[in-house]
């Protein structure tokens, strides 16, 4: 599907989501409660069949935390960006998609490690790079005590 067709299809299927044509790819922002169901549909529906999770990243914005999923369909060759936001900075938690795309299991561990976003129902949510008790360095309020970045 072209970007416009994909956008029209998603608007039709997910009326509650916020769908825009981004600079490169179609973007869809879903409520965190709908994430798992939406992701399952995106992977399983014949029209979209997003079976390859390219990249899973987390960003800490001033008002919310965002997890971004770059998805591609191997058979149909279209790409889209799925986003989910959480306003809770103390205990941010969203559902895992590791049962839909296995690779998400490790990418989610990375996001948990560096941003402190908890993934519900993840079966092995441990820190990946850093030790337990380390802060969450990619959060904007992280204090860089050993002055790795700021000199």
């Amino acid at each position: 599907m072209t970007q416009d067709e994909l956008k029209a299809y998603l608007l039709d299927k997910f009326p509650s989501a916020e769908i825009t044509l981004g600079t490169q790819y179609v973007q869809m922002i879903v409520a965190s409660a709908d994430l798992h169901q939406t992701a399952t549909l995106l992977k399983d529906a014949k029209e979209t069949s997003f079976d390859y999770l390219i990249c899973l990243s987390g960003v800490d914005y001033p008002e919310y935390m965002e997890v971004i999923y770059h998805l591609e369909s191997v058979s149909l060759r279209h790409v889209m960006v799925l986003k989910v936001r959480t306003k809770d900075r103390v205990n941010p938690a969203i559902d895992t998609v590791s049962d839909i795309w296995i690779t998400a299991k490790y990418h989610e561990r990375e996001v948990y490690d560096l941003l402190g976003v908890h993934f519900n129902n993840h079966n092995d949510l441990r820190r990946l790079f850093l030790e337990d008790g380390w802060g969450f360095p990619l959060r904007k309020d992280y204090v860089d005590e050993i002055r790795i970045v700021e000199r």
């Binding site: 490169q24 079976d51 390859y52 990418h107 790079f129 850093l130 790795i148 970045v149």
Partner: protein, 377 residues
């Protein structure tokens, strides 16, 4: 004596237990600081748990404090064998965000350098693969030929490994007057050497016994784990971004995407071997046709990206490399994320090695071609 006899004939007492072995972080076959907790029963691998982070350098965090041209210098510290492609990914991302069109000359030179870097990376992979399986000779053959490419890099941009040849808007310098001749000499030389590689390792009986049918990764698993690059293509996963999302001069050249459906260690080996031939042919098509022109467009001294999000995918020697830049309009990015191919590839190892012998684990890991700083970032 009677005790020994009893043990020998009483099979119950010979039963093995499951046990854990720490492989790494200093194990020679991991080629870096990767630690794997391997659960074994006798010699059979039951489960592998990779532990990473020994060389985590916080590159993504550092990027938030520096400017875009500076970020390029950090990217070749990740996958140092694909340094040129990593640099190019950031340069392309910034150029696309600013809608800068680089001169044709830059595109040609970038593509040639990409393929030279891919060749150098595959050569190192090949010689190390042989060494991991006990054939030390390959190591000398591979490094001897790789040296020629590194010399070309050195003459062109002054560095052999961390090249930093790309800038947003073009290249750091023009190519050296010797560049075309040396590259052509190398192609002629290496075309003769590649059959030697096959003679030495590909046809070896011990090598084939140790790779054929070992480390099966089905197409469905390759996609689910996001295994890209030659490792994914050996499982039939068509993911060559040079074909699917062409950038630089790739739309202008003819080459085949090497796909194998055998899914085993040998398939992953042969895909890389065939890719070397394709790389040579890509360079051959471009080297005589480098257009005249500038080697860079003039950019502002302080590069600021417009507000928004930009994603760029390139094909490195290991697979799909992605740069995700979130910009808030300042001279440094709000957030940078690198999607490294090694990270996704590594975690398919458990799936591939389960049920095989621990010596096969080394062979499987070799064909994944892991670079640890690429995984840890």
């Amino acid at each position: 004596m009677s005790e020994i006899k009893e043990v020998m004939f009483n099979s119950d007492r010979l039963a093995t237990d499951e046990y854990l072995v720490n492989m790494g972080p200093q194990h020679p076959s991991t080629h870096g600081v990767l630690r794997m907790l391997v659960k074994l029963e006798g010699e059979k691998v039951l489960n592998i748990q990779p532990h990473i982070g020994y060389i985590h350098s916080g590159i993504e965090k550092m990027c938030e404090a520096i400017s875009y041209p500076q970020i390029i210098h950090l990217t070749d510290r990740m996958d140092y064998l694909s340094a040129h492609m990593n640099n190019e990914a950031v340069a392309l991302c910034v150029e696309n965000a600013l809608q800068v069109e680089v001169p044709e000359r830059v595109k040609y030179i970038r593509t040639i350098m990409d393929e030279l870097a891919r060749l150098a990376s595959h050569q190192l992979w090949w010689c190390v693969m042989g060494m991991d399986l006990g054939a030390l000779t390959t190591f000398f053959y591979g490094l001897r030929d790789r040296e020629m490419i590194l010399d070309i890099f050195e003459e062109t941009c002054g560095a052999r490994l961390t090249v930093n040849y790309n800038l947003p808007g073009g290249l750091m310098f023009d190519i050296h007057p010797n560049f075309q001749k040396r590259v052509k000499d190398f192609i002629t030389y290496f075309r003769k050497k590649l059959p030697e590689y096959d003679q030495l390792l590909s046809g070896n009986v011990i090598f084939r016994e140790r790779t054929e049918g070992i480390g099966h990764l089905s197409l469905a698993d390759a996609i689910a784990y996001g295994v890209t690059g030659p490792s994914g293509r050996a499982s039939g996963f068509s993911n060559d971004l040079r074909k699917h999302q062409p950038y630089s001069a790739y739309p202008l050249v003819k080459f085949n995407e090497i796909i194998d459906h055998r899914c085993d260690t040998l398939a992953r080996y042969e895909v890389r071997m065939k890719e070397m031939h394709e790389s040579l042919s890509i360079i051959e098509q471009l080297i005589d046709n480098i257009p005249e022109g500038d080697y860079a467009v003039k950019m502002k001294s302080v590069i600021k990206l417009p507000e928004g999000e930009f994603y760029q995918r390139v094909e490195t020697a290991r697979g799909e490399f992605g740069v995700y830049i979130v910009s808030d309009g300042k001279k440094n990015p709000y957030r940078v994320k690198f999607r490294s191919p090694g990270f996704s590839n590594l975690f398919a190892l458990n799936k591939m090695a389960k049920g095989h012998k621990i010596a096969d684990l080394v062979a499987i890991m070799s064909t994944l071609d892991l670079v640890i700083p690429d995984i840890d970032r």
